[in-house]
Subunit: 188 residues, 2 copies
Amino acid sequence: MSEFVRQIPDGDTRERLVCATCGHIDYRNPKIVVGAVVSQGGNVLLCRRAIEPRRGFWTLPAGYLELGETAEEGARREAMEEACADIVLDGLLAVYSISRIGQVQLIFRARFADADAPRFAAGEESLEVRLFEWDSIPRADLAFPSVAWSLTAWREGMGRPLAAPAGNPPADPLGAMAFGASPGAGGL
Amino acid sequence: MSEFVRQIPDGDTRERLVCATCGHIDYRNPKIVVGAVVSQGGNVLLCRRAIEPRRGFWTLPAGYLELGETAEEGARREAMEEACADIVLDGLLAVYSISRIGQVQLIFRARFADADAPRFAAGEESLEVRLFEWDSIPRADLAFPSVAWSLTAWREGMGRPLAAPAGNPPADPLGAMAFGASPGAGGL
């Protein structure tokens, strides 16, 4: 096994994990999450998570961007994987930084490719997928604060052309708060 | 040394590098670049790169987002590191996917914190930092296509409130083209 030590590489300003044998630097970078608020006739698509963390709670179709994808391709892939939904992106709805867990989330506004006959079903990582009327959204059972933030941003821009994307709410500008502490469903 | 083999982990759909000894999965993810078009009185701030790739060519103050930072914090840090400039972000100007090299770039619109007396200087990774009038921008010597794209997006929105951020140009929707092949300075 190679052994990694913490040190500041030449020309850098931060400690990195550096292999004591070969000098390879193991950069750890924030990850990009891509997802979508998919709506149809004023209802929004949510997926009940089949996997941890937050199994059993409701989320947007979203996940890690893969190498070789654009953000838009990733958001469409996630909708297909998690909700078996073929979606068309309208544009970027929100950009959230969740510094606590090293994520930047790019959330798109989207609709079903076939708006007249929306098709969706639970993918492998979902227990259940449903279209919710706004008042029926399971506010207390949303998986993550940014799900609530995204739904709020969607609702505020509903029926209008996309404007500047929403960012973190003023109460959690860094995305530093954990589930219970962050202003999530409370603001929805 | 541990040995990594290419295989599709359980529950995954893609090949990953998996350690043959301990089963550790070495996920490779796209990286987030954060940067800014910093302007003052219609002039824009560019940095001449002191490092490879594209040493000697002009770029925006921009770089990899670090763990624990928000996108906004990262963009401000890069302006300080590369241009010794204290900047204030107006909002998100553009989001580019450069799938060829596994990057998503978040480019902000920004101004100097002290607009009346803008201060800037070459940081360690810059040979030179200058404010350019639009017509004086060294179009043929820009470091990357997305620098040209960002400047074009900035120019188009100049003097107006930020709207939906720009994305990749229609000629390179995936960010798949290399330097010479991509529509860069040509469109500027």
